[in-house]
């Protein structure tokens, strides 16, 4: 399936891109997380402390992904 991945804050600074499209062969958010860490080993720490949103909704790691989903890597938020 084709997914769009969005990077924010520290994840963006390490990966050095705001977003990218990926071909993903797994099923769950958890598998996608591993894929990201494999691709960018330096981002592992940030990704491990991040939560994820799928199509603008916070999502659990067990969630199933589907073609066309937009997945955001959300490091600990710091608004205010």
């Amino acid at each position: 399936m084709k997914l769009k991945i969005l990077y924010f804050a520290e994840a963006r600074r390490i990966v050095k891109k705001n977003e990218e499209y990926v071909d993903f062969n797994g099923n769950t958010l958890s598998e996608l997380k591993s894929t990201i860490i494999d691709k960018y080993p330096k981002v592992a720490e940030v990704v491990n402390s991040s939560i994820f949103a799928v199509n603008l909704q916070y999502a659990q790691l067990g969630s199933a992904l589907k073609d066309g989903d937009t997945v955001a890597v959300i490091p600990p938020v710091e608004g205010g």
Binding site: L6, A53, A72, V77, G79, G80
Partner: protein
């Protein structure tokens, strides 16, 4: 009303928008970048957001606050971009019939926004300006 903006926040404007005959209390929270001893020479804070989702989360918080606290109007504004010290980066304003629910809701909204809305800050130091 929720908003993410680059422009300065006009609190007079917000206050006007909240006025209602049946509201007796308005509680505001204004957050500003803070220079603390341990931070060194902070000159500004650069805020970034996942804007679409931040707006959605802020709207959810507003709706929940109205249900929980029975307040009248709620305004939540967060700025993005580089904010100098002493400028407001974050505003929550709540109008209500009585002060109890106004203080309760305002505090709750501030905490929720800080915990849940995808906004991040990068502290800009005096050195990083020149580098």
């Amino acid at each position: 009303m929720v908003k993410i903006q680059k422009d300065k926040i006009d609190i007079q404007n917000v206050e006007e928008s909240l006025k209602r005959d049946d509201a007796g209390a308005i509680v505001f929270f204004l957050g500003e970048p803070r220079r603390s001893a341990e931070d060194g020479k902070v000159v500004s804070i650069n805020y970034t957001a996942y804007i679409d989702m931040a707006l959605k989360e802020m709207q959810k918080i507003e709706n929940d606050a109205q249900k929980i606290f029975k307040v009248k109007d709620v305004v939540i504004i967060h700025r993005v971009g580089e904010i100098p010290l002493k400028e407001i980066s974050f505003l929550v304003a709540v109008s209500s019939a009585h002060r109890d629910e106004g203080f309760g809701a305002c505090r709750w909204i501030v905490d929720e926004v800080k915990a849940k809305v995808p906004i991040w800050k990068e502290i800009m130091y005096e050195e990083s300006r020149n580098s």
